[in-house]
């Protein structure tokens, strides 16, 4: 049996995304360990706190490169649709919760959660598109 077609861009994506996600988790642990909760902003604390952000930017870059480098136009369309659904999901949650924060005393949603929420939206889109037979 022949192996199923797999766009070579996926392999390059994983090579970029997996180290960045490991770096993200490591940087979060490092920042949480080294920076006390009540720490003042200083070049050192800002520098450490920016490390997970750099990893996030690398993950976003890896996802953007996937869309640019994919050779199979139909699979690329599927990935773009998933990204649009994830974007809509993250924007909807952020906007709705932001208004709740503005007019009520609900707990504040930390802004850094927007990116993990977007990734969650990507997973929802994956299941939804699969259920629709895409």
């Amino acid at each position: 049996m022949r192996p199923a077609y797999r766009d070579p861009a996926y392999a390059r994506y994983l090579k970029r995304f997996i180290p960045a996600s490991v770096l993200y988790v490591g940087a979060i642990i490092l920042a949480s360990t080294l920076i006390p909760d009540d720490a003042k902003a200083s070049p050192l604390t800002i520098g450490i706190a920016l490390l997970p952000g750099m990893a996030c930017i690398t993950m976003i870059w890896a996802m953007a490169r996937l869309l640019v480098e994919m050779e199979d136009e139909y699979l690329r369309l599927i990935e773009i649709k998933k990204a649009l659904i994830a974007t809509g999901f993250a924007l909807a949650v952020a906007a709705t919760w932001g208004l709740l924060e503005l007019y009520t005393d609900v707990q504040k949603l930390p802004v850094f959660l927007i990116f993990p929420m977007w990734c969650g939206g990507l997973a929802i889109a994956q299941f939804w598109m699969k259920a629709r037979g895409a």
């Binding site: 022949r2 077609y5 199979d72 136009e73 139909y74 699979l75 369309l77 895409a134």
Partner: protein, 63 residues
């Protein structure tokens, strides 16, 4: 857009994977085009036409 891809493929006794391999695309792409879920780009439509030695309009039909 309607197309005759499934008929042309069957005439050659190819399955979707055979056609996908010949075109250098995924089987999902061939399936999506055959079932009308996806209209291929012009370059891919030309590749399909070249593969069957036909004109694009002999394969893809207006609705």
């Amino acid at each position: 857009m309607k197309n005759r891809l499934k008929v042309l493929r069957a005439e050659r006794d190819w399955n979707q994977q055979d056609l996908a391999d010949a075109l250098g695309v995924s089987r999902q792409s061939v399936n999506a085009i055959e079932t009308g879920k996806y209209d291929p780009s012009l370059p891919l439509a030309f590749r399909i036409a070249d593969l069957f030695s036909l004109q694009i309009e002999d394969i893809f039909l207006r609705d």
